[in-house]
Every structure is written in structure tokens, then in C-alpha cells.
């Protein structure tokens, strides 16, 4: 097990190095000139040239890359060109906000998705099953921004129950701050839940047909115990894999949802940086997102191993 984790961490490291090169390379060929971004549209060539010299923009690309990468190793992601603050703290703030949104959505996707899947499986081909199937299908077939806009119109503009966007600030009460989370979380949950509930449903149906579930019933256990203790635990294994894949979708969805709800998270920060051509900020945020994605997948794998005793306990007892 330990060996496996070490191996995986090593692989993540390799991925990050390669990704950092890619990110750096791609941002270099983005249209536009960094010096102009800093100096403003109407700067004289002299000023632009001076900035280029100062930032070393005329150095060979590998020198520039090394400057950037070695900075990261020292914990320095560079200076944001537009905000004129270090990139690190900016990203940290945004990351915190996104993390709250992501974890709320993830918890809802997992719990509601699994519950719906179990109910659908137990009531297979009954009205409840079809209802759940339609509900989740509607969720997955329309993109996030549509649901975002619909929710804003209904709950913020029309009913005026919830704020249409933003995050609130430290002076707001906890309840108010939670209210800012409701709509974006609901949007993300609704669009992601179908994968989880469908996977749970199909693996649950399969599990309910196994010999060990029949054996559990033959022991005279009540159906409740059979489903939640005997069947679900095994049915969850494929669901965990889906949840790991969902992390990728979640990251993609968060970028859209944060923009729709003007939620100051990492996704919106990245869009903002792209619009302003703020290279250090773009590079930093993409790199962080990559790192999060890799570690989330590792975490999912470890969880999988933990739930599956075949991996957790290898050896035979004789």
C-alpha cells in the first residue's frame, strides 16, 4: 500500500512538471504582449521596451521558464500584472472560496446521488425509478449556465429569496453567507448528479442479484439491513470511480458557475486573468487546478482501496 502511494505521488510530480512546461509554453503563444498590458495601450515603444527588459521578456524561453519554475519551488508564483499583488495570496483567497463551493456541491452530489440511485434500484422499473431517471436526465442534458440563469431569475429576481451572486463578506452573518452558496451549489449538484445516481442504480441492481445478497436474505435479515449493509457497500465501488471522474466535471462546472453567479473563486479568477492577459496569474491558477485534480484522483483511488478489502488486506489467512 505504502509503495503504491509513493509510486502515485511520484507520478503526480512528473505530471506537474510536464504540465508546468505546457502551461508556460501555451501562455507564451497567446496573442497580445505582456509589456503592453502593463504599460497600457497608449505607451510609447520606449516604455514598453524598458518593461520588456525589466521582466526579461526577451530572454530565451527556457531561461524564462526556469525563472518561473524555480520561483514556484521557492513558493513564489510571481506578481500579478493587473492587480500588482503577488499571485500566491490572490490564488489562495480564490481557492478558499472555490473549495467551499466545491465541497458543498460534492457532498450533495454524493449523498443525494447515491440515495437516489439506491431508491431507483430498489424500486426498479416502478414509477419512482422512472421519476428519478427523468429528473437526473433533465439535469445532465442542459448546461450549467442555463440552470444558473434560470435559478437566478426564479429565486433571486422573481421570488427574491436568495442573493443573485457574489459571496458576501466577513461582516455578514453566517446565514447570509450560506445563502450566497445555495444557488451555485444547487446548479452544480443538479448538473452532476445524474452520473452518480445512474452508476449507483446500475451497480446496485447488479449487487442485489448476487449470491451474497440472496444469502443475506436467507439469514432472515430485514430488507433494510440487506440493502444498506450488504448491497450498498459493494455497489459503491464503481460509484467511487465515477465520483473521481466527476471531480473533473466539477472543476469545469465551477468555472462556469462562478462566472454566472459572480462568485469570487478560482474559476472566475482564471477567466478574469485570461481576459486581462495577466500571464503569471493564468499560469499560477492553471497549475494549481492541475495539482488539485491530480490529488483528488489519488484521494479517490485511496478511498477505493480503503472500501475494497481485497486491496486493503492482501494476504491470506491459513
Amino acid at each position: 500500500m505504502i509503495g503504491y502511494i509513493v509510486q502515485r505521488l511520484f507520478a503526480i510530480l512528473v505530471i506537474l512538471v510536464v504540465m508546468s512546461m505546457l502551461i508556460f509554453g501555451v501562455t507564451q503563444i497567446l496573442p497580445g504582449n505582456v509589456a503592453y498590458v502593463i504599460a497600457g495601450q497608449f505607451a510609447t515603444p520606449d516604455v514598453v521596451h524598458a518593461i520588456e527588459l525589466k521582466l526579461g521578456l526577451n530572454d530565451p524561453i527556457y531561461v524564462q521558464y526556469w525563472r518561473w519554475a524555480s520561483g514556484i519551488l521557492r513558493g513564489d508564483l510571481g506578481q500579478s500584472l493587473v492587480m500588482e499583488r503577488p499571485v500566491g495570496p490572490i490564488i489562495a483567497d480564490a481557492l478558499g472560496a472555490s473549495a467551499i463551493l466545491a465541497s458543498c456541491s460534492f457532498v450533495f452530489v454524493a449523498t443525494i446521488g447515491i440515495t437516489l440511485g439506491v431508491i431507483a434500484a430498489v424500486r426498479q422499473n416502478k414509477a419512482v425509478d422512472h421519476g428519478i431517471s427523468i429528473f437526473t436526465y433533465v439535469g445532465i442534458s442542459v448546461p450549467e449556465f442555463f440552470w444558473g440563469i434560470v435559478l437566478v431569475i426564479v429565486f433571486a429576481r422573481y421570488l427574491d429569496w436568495l442573493p443573485p451572486g457574489g459571496r458576501g463578506d466577513a461582516s455578514d452573518s453566517l446565514l447570509t453567507r450560506i445563502s450566497y452558496l445555495v444557488l451555485p451549489t444547487a446548479t452544480l449538484t443538479f448538473t452532476l448528479i445524474a452520473h452518480v445516481s445512474r452508476m449507483t442504480r446500475s451497480s446496485m441492481i447488479e449487487t442485489l442479484r448476487t449470491q451474497y445478497v440472496r444469502n443475506a436474505r436467507a439469514k432472515g435479515l430485514p430488507e433494510r439491513v440487506v440493502i444498506w449493509r450488504h448491497a450498498l457497500r459493494n455497489a459503491l465501488l464503481p460509484t467511487i470511480t465515477v465520483l473521481a471522474v466527476d471531480i473533473g466535471w466539477l472543476i469545469g462546472g465551477i468555472v462556469v458557475v462562478e462566472t454566472v453567479f459572480s462568485y469570487p473563486g478560482l474559476g472566475r479568477l482564471m477567466i478574469y486573468a485570461l481576459e486581462r492577459h495577466d500571464l503569471p496569474l493564468i499560469q499560477g491558477s492553471i497549475l494549481i487546478i492541475t495539482a488539485i485534480y491530480c490529488s483528488a484522483n489519488l484521494l479517490a483511488d485511496l478511498l477505493y482501496a480503503f472500501v475494497n478489502p481485497k486491496i486493503r488486506y492482501g494476504n491470506a489467512v491459513r
Binding site: Q211, Y212, K219, P309, N315, A316
Partner: protein, 696 residues
Amino acid sequence: MSQSALLSVSNLTVAYETRKGRLKALDGVSFSVSTGETLALVGESGSGKSTIALATMGLLGPEAAISGSISFEGRDLAGLSAEDRRKVRGRDISVVFQDPFTSLNPSLPIGLQVAEPLIQHLGLSRNEAMKRAIAALTEVGLPHPERLLTAYPHQLSGGMQQRVLIATALVCDPTLVVLDEPTTALDVTVEARILDLLDEIRRSRQIGMLFITHNLGVVNRIADRVCVIYAGRIVEIGAKNDVLNAPSHPYTKGLLASLPRLSARDHQQRLAPIGGRFPDLTALPQGCAFAPRCPFAEAKCNEPQPLHPLGDGHAARCWKAEALRQTPWPVPEAPKTIAARAPAMQGELAVRDLSKIYALGGSGGAIRWTRRFGLPWLKIERPILRAVDGVSFAIPAGEVLGLVGESGSGKSTLARLAIRLIEPNGGDVVFNDKSVNKLRGKALKSFRQAVQIIFQNPDSSLNPRRTVGEAIARAVTLHTSVPGKDRHNHVENLMDRVGLPRSYYDRYPHQLSGGEKQRIGIARALATDPVLVVCDEPVSALDVSVQATVLNLLSDLRDQLSLSYLFISHDLSVVAHIADRIAVMYAGKIVEVGSTTAVLEPPYHPYTEALLAAIPLPDPALANRHRTVLKSDVANARADTGCPFHPRCSRKLGTICETVTPPVVEAAPGHNIVCHIPLKDLERVPSVLPPERVTS
């Protein structure tokens, strides 16, 4: 014997609505089980025997239409509410299902799974329940029960898993235990140990057992009374000795006659299979359902057949039962030789010192730094398994070599190595004095034509969308140079040869029975006119009566086409029936090899002796014959040093067996035994087989 009936089933009928009409899985089944009695229900697949188990447990789905009564300790179970029925399950009646490998929940610890019924039915606390679970695990003979509580199913062998399931079934002190083929998935030496255990439990606890099986040998070992089921109806019922000694229903006679006899003298006699096919359960006749397959059928058989009493509770559903008492099941004639072919080429296949090593999965093993693409890389060194470990044998042209071994012995790997389906890690295969490992191109192709293989499961090698004719024709096109215009003819000849009617040319696999599908497999193997055919468990997936027809076919083909076989099976009776010589394999090594007669008689290798003694035979006189009980529930428990068999050997001499590789002892010319025990001591062991007797 007959105390008050514990379970009494009367007129039980179970039907399903299907697209083809009403399917009667059970039709008016009545029987009873008394306290302390074992009733065996015997039948082939489709007979409805497992439906009886599920109906007794109340586990049939809502789509089953059930009528009749199941009364248990005076209560009619069918009248109980679902909730009350559940409270009986696992507490008063419990069940052990067929497949231990899938019957335990893979994600729950053993302790919880055993203790669960106690917590549920008796309301014990977790701690108390665990204590009783330990006692139950001890009772079924599992070592270190405390450690098992926290273990998971995959860490146990199949035999140990079945013991856990038996412990679970007994933990609430039920009065009736239903056993649905409890040993079918196990190896024969492990099966013998589990049957001993069940018998002992039945004696010590005085519980009733409803034992469901297809194996008449097992019935003989365990049952007091027998109930033979065919197409959802009881066709014969009676005390075990009466039914096995004087089978009265023709179907029972047929079942017994189609079993290969495990005897040195009888071997290679023709078997007496039951011809025809299992009836369609949606269109059962009013009269005897066995009539289409019965050699004694007459017009009167088309009338409804009640059970005819034959005295002492023995009864058969056949109006001729009394008259047929002395009439044995007929043995079919060998067919006339069709276009016998002179052996075109000499074909001796020899393997020398073959080895195959597999890396084991799992998370064990040391972590090492290695290099990959020139970069430092962490690597985990996995443990390995020597699946085949230095095996040598030769099969001269026209000979049948039987290879017998239990699961994990490496016999199937050896089969694949021998015909170069997989590459060995060491050693060589020699065919007609040429090393097969070096063959390339045309020479390799002609080797592949000369040596063919038949697999266990005919289904997996058949494309469901191809007709029988197309399936065989494909083998002809791929592997032979038969010109296009002659192909149809060639296929029809092959179908004649394996006994498939030509009208089957355009049928699809799902329209065929298991035996017929296996005939397609044989026809495809014969398409290239091979000289040697490797038969890898060719009859293991088939019912006994069908198994006999396929075995007869294989013997006939051998005689007509002067084929050689490498015949592989876990079933020593089947191997002994067809083979000229037998090699016994244990943990990747051949431990004994010799002519069939020599292997079946002493001197034995201790493993061969145990294997022979473990086989349950359907002769009541031998129900409790001398048995060598092997240690351990792991069929191929292996050792890295010394004799591979020493972890299970009951004749182990001492440290010499653990440390020194045993020598090859030549008991007679061509009869080799690999063991430290001196030959003269081995010769002193009495025969484990029944003395020869006149068979009815």
C-alpha cells in the same frame, strides 16, 4: 427412523409465466424430512431441485406462482406473512448455497457475517454474538477462529469459505438445514472433508437436512432417503439403499448407468448414456415426462403416471417399475466405423521439463528502485507462482494420456503450453522429433493443424449469431486448404462424425443443448484432421447423462480416427474411464504417472490414494469405505521446498519431506511415483477401490 415430520411439503407447484407460455418448474412435489434425517433431492440441471430449496426458504421472487403447502413444525409456512416468514429464515430453517466463493459478502468481515443472525433473531449484543460466532467457527473445524472474525472472505480458500457458511447456517441452532449443492464447487479432496463435517453435525445436533445435489456418489455418502426429480416431478423416492441398489424408475437406472465406474477392470467400457433431450418445461406432456428418452416406453406411458408404491416407502412414477426391476439400462452399440482414416502422419508429442511462471497480483512484495526509460523508477517486486514446474511426459501416437489434478494444479496451463497457445518460461515441446518452440511460418501452421484443443465451456467459443454449419465451416476455412466448393460437404461429414444431425446445419447455438454445443466444439477440432487433440475438461460443464454421450463419442472417435488425446480433468473417474495412462498433477508437478490400471491400484502416491479415496461412489456398500483424510482445505496447498504435497500429506515422514525433493521411484516399468516413502511400504497400502463385483 420416522419421527414426526419436521418439514412436510405437499403438492408443491411453482410456475412462471414466460413468453412461450406457462413454465412449470415444479409440479405437485410432495416429501417430508424428519428430525435427524437427511433427505437428498437428486436431479440434473433444470429438474427444479433448487426451486425446492428456494421455495422452502421463501426466497422465490414475486413472479413465481406457488401453490401447495410447506408445513414446518406443524405451521404452514405458505400462510405466514412476509415478516413472519423472515423470522423463520436463518433461525429455524437455514440454508447453505452452492457457491462459497460468491455467497459471502466480499466487503464485510467474517465475524459480522457469522454473528449477524444472532444479533437479528436472538437480540444478542455484538460481544455475545461474536463469542457464539467463535464457538460456531470452532465447531466447523476452522483454525484460529478469533483471527477469522476480522478477516475478509477473499483471504480464505473455497473450503474454508464453505465452512464459514455452514457455521453461519448453524449459529442460531436451526432444526432444519437446506443444503443446495454445498460441495459442487469444491475440489474432491475438500468435498470429502466437508461431507464428513456435515455428517458429524447432523449426528451430534440431530437436525434435519434437505440435501440437494446432482451427484449420486454424494447422495450415497450423506443421505438416509433419496428423492429423484425429473422435469419438476418426483420420479422415485425411497430409502437410499433401496434406490441406489435397486433403482426402479428408468431415469434413475439411466443416471446410475451413465456414471463412469472407477474401476481398473471396467475402464474403457462403453457408458450407457440417456439419449434425447431434456423436455421443454413449458410444454410438458400429461403422461410420463421421461417417455421421449425412455427405452422402455409404450403407449400406456402417455397416460398420467402416479407414484407406484414398491414397499418400504419406496415408490416410482412409472407403471412398469415393478416389471422392470431386474432390467438394466441398455448400453448402446458402438457405431459402425465411418470412413476410418489411416493415420497420415506419425504423431508423438513430448514435453520436456516445461515450466510456466506467473506473477501474482496483490499488494505484497518489496519496493525497489529500478530504472525505466533511463530514469529512476520505483518498482514493487511481486511474488510469483510456479504454475507448471518442470513437467515431462510423452504421448505416443494413438494413446490417451489422462491428466488429473484439482484446481490450482496447473493442468490447464500445461495443456496450453503443450500446444503452444502460451509460451513456456523453460523447457521444450517436441512433436515428431522437432522442437515446437522453434517452429515458424508453415511448419508452425502444420503443427497447429495436427494438434487441436477442445475447451470446457462450449458456449464461450461459439458466436451466438453464427449457425452450427457456419461455426464449423469457419474452422474449415481458417485452418485447412479444403477448396470452397467442397466445404459444405466437409462440414456435413464432420457433423456426421460427431453425431449432429445434418438438419442442425442452420440452427443457432441457443437452440442447442450443452452436449450438442460440445459436439460442435469437437467437430471444429476435427476439421483439420488432427492427430492429437487436447481435451481440457471437455465434459465438466455437462450433466452426467450428457457427459456419458460425449465420453462415448470421444472414445469412438479415438478408435475410428486413431487419435491421441491429452485428456485433462479434475474428475479421476472420467479420466480413468478414457485414458490409457494417467498422470497425477499436484501444485505444478506430476507426482505419479503410469498405466490406468497401475495408477488405480497400489502402490499409490499418497496424493493419488487420497484422491481415489475421496471420490464419492454411488454404491451403498461403499458409503463409508476407508478414507484418508487430507489436511487443509486448500486443494493445492504448496510448499517451496521438499515435496510439494507435504502441507497436506497424511503419510508425511518428517523433515525429509519438508526439505529434500523426493526421488522418482519406478514401481513398475512406466509407473513412476515421486515420494520419499520406500516402495515396499507403498506396496503395503491396501487398495482404496471397491473389490471387483458383478454390476447389474
